[in-house]
């Protein structure tokens, strides 16, 4: 059913910390790895080792350069590089769901996850048109729409050790930049992080009410010059002697 539920019991989603993400793309690779082997059609690649490779990914990491405004205190602030992972934000007002003519796209009442039932999908592509974030990709091999499932086949999976029952991108991230939890619970880890670090919506003007939240990068520390070791690092030998010294002087003369 592609009408949206009026409310969902849980609001599962991710917090992505733009301050700590180092842009390693480990989440991209683990996502592709898990999702190509589990739920639904594999994530195909076209011409993977050729001259024009492309493929289906459910998570992609952009990089942006942010040039802070010059101030009198900081006349030449250094530009910052911000890595920006982007996957489905499991929007509350998901426009991708309501446009779907077949009912293949739906939002779950129990936890708010937005999913595609691939055996109903006709591959019209309309849902990808309706998503402002580019979170849906049509698989070129299978002709069905693929998107982040929030690893629905991990988070409730009793065959996995408890520690692995979270989305694989969160489990993999070496920088601790990704957090998974229930935004409907004001005391959850993700709700607290969002409140403490002023988490933000992407493209709020599109009215999609994304569940996933992004934590803005914090201002960089300014460190004083630390030079307690500097005296010990003075060059000890100013002039070389011995054979090398002779060689040096002789070569100098030539």
């Amino acid at each position: 059913m592609t009408t949206l539920p009026t409310s969902t019991k849980k609001k599962l989603g991710l917090v992505i910390d733009l301050d700590t993400c180092v842009g390693c793309h480990a989440c991209v690779i683990s996502c592709k790895g898990w999702n190509t082997e589990n739920y639904g059609a594999p994530l195909s690649d076209q011409d993977p080792y050729g001259g024009d490779p492309s493929g289906t990914f459910l998570n992609r990491v952009h990089s942006y350069e942010v040039q802070p405004l010059a101030t009198s205190a900081m006349p030449h602030p250094a530009a910052q590089l911000v890595h920006f992972p982007k996957s489905c934000l499991h929007c509350e007002d998901a426009p991708c769901v309501t446009v779907c003519p077949t009912g293949a796209s739906y939002k779950r009442v129990e936890d708010g996850i937005v999913l595609v039932n691939e055996s109903d999908c006709i591959g019209c592509g309309l849902c990808a048109w309706a998503c402002p974030y580019g979170a849906r990709e049509m698989d070129a091999e299978e002709g069905v729409m693929k998107k982040c499932t929030l690893c629905v086949d991990r988070i409730y999976n009793e065959n996995l050790p408890e520690v692995d029952r979270e989305p694989v991108c969160v489990r993999t991230c070496p920088a601790g930049a990704r957090h998974f939890g229930d935004f409907a619970d004001p005391d959850s880890n993700v709700s607290r992080l969002t409140a403490e670090r002023s988490g933000m919506d992407l493209m709020p003007e599109q009215g999609t009410k994304p569940v996933n939240q992004y934590l803005p990068p914090r201002p960089k520390d300014t460190l004083d010059q630390i030079d307690v070791l500097a005296p010990f690092l003075e060059p000890v030998m100013q002039e070389s002697n011995g054979f090398l010294g002779w060689l040096d002087r002789t070569l100098e003369k030539i």
């Binding site: 991209v28 992609r60 003519p101 009912g103 592509g125 309309l126 990808a128 402002p132 990709e137 493209m203």
Partner: protein, 293 residues
């Protein structure tokens, strides 16, 4: 957006076909027997041919029937219903005219309304798409409906109506283009809103895309067309779609002129449809630094 040929053929031809059906439905012209058969055959070829071509871009056309299920929320599903209902009702009405020489006018009026309803549902698929600011306006529906009515009048031989409707459609087309040229700016979607990184006057620039190669999103949504190129095509669309047909209709009547007027109109509208997609900026392009805004 990437202008997919199947979608351009579909919206152009079926728009004309349903326009013609609408005129036939209200009895302009009143035809029976063989001439009715000819008119209906042309209308059905256009409408059904367009619908069939639209299934070519589906990943799984064999499941197309499932598209009838979600009419409560999806304009594409509503379009499927409207198209089938219009074709069935107009088929019955046409059968009356062709085989029984009877004009069941109530049926005709219902069929005409359904035909225009189909064009409206098509227009709403695009008109409600918030991610493409150029499309997100009631003018999109106005454009599709006036084009369909004007083209239908041309095909139905309603010269005096065509002479009014073609200029009206041309005006709507120009207004639609004018509004569209600033629509992305007006929409408020920028790299700042997309990333949230432009705090305290900072300037954000797309530094690196996620992958060195291309992907579905770039192929489908980030088609960029040169401005000069677009301006020329707009002139072609206006000239062939509206000006030439009107001139030809004003000349003393001849079947050859009529035919040329129709062909010229179809080519002009196809050019306009190509631009409709090629010029449409999807906001996802902002994430890739591919939009001026």
């Amino acid at each position: 957006m990437h202008p997919a040929p199947s979608v351009i053929v579909f919206t152009t031809l079926s728009g004309l076909g349903f326009g013609l059906l609408a005129w036939l439905g209200i009895g302009m012209p009143v035809v029976t027997g063989w001439s009715a058969f000819a008119f209906f055959a042309v209308a059905y070829l256009l409408a059904v041919g367009g619908l069939i071509s639209s299934t070519f871009h589906l990943g799984h056309p064999e499941r197309a029937l499932k598209a009838f299920t979600q009419w409560r929320s999806s304009w594409l599903s509503r379009e499927a219903w409207a198209a089938v209902l219009a074709l069935v009702v107009m088929g019955l009405y046409g059968a009356g005219l062709v085989f029984f020489g009877q004009r069941w006018s109530a049926l005709g009026w219902i069929g005409a309304a359904l035909s225009l309803g189909t064009v409206y549902t098509t227009s709403m698929i695009y008109g409600q798409m918030k991610t493409v600011p150029r499309w997100k306006t009631p003018l999109t529906s106005a454009l599709y409906l006036t084009l369909s009515l004007a083209g239908g009048a041309l095909l139905a031989g309603q010269v005096s109506f065509a002479l009014i409707l073609l200029p009206v459609a041309a005006v709507v087309q120009v207004l639609w283009w004018k509004r569209g040229d600033t629509a992305l700016e007006q929409s408020g979607s920028t790299l700042a809103s997309a990333t949230g990184l432009a705090r305290d006057g900072a300037v954000v620039r797309a530094f690196e895309p996620p992958h060195t190669g291309t992907n579905y999103l770039l192929r489908e949504f980030v088609h960029v067309i040169g401005r000069k190129h677009a301006r020329k095509l707009r002139l072609i669309a206006l000239g062939l779609g509206f000006v030439l047909p009107v001139v030809l209709l004003l000349l003393p009547f001849s079947h050859v002129f009529g035919l040329v007027a129709v062909l010229s109109h179809v080519i002009g509208i196809a050019a306009s449809r190509w631009l409709f997609f090629a010029e449409a900026e999807h906001v996802v392009g902002i994430y890739y630094g591919k939009r001026a805004a």
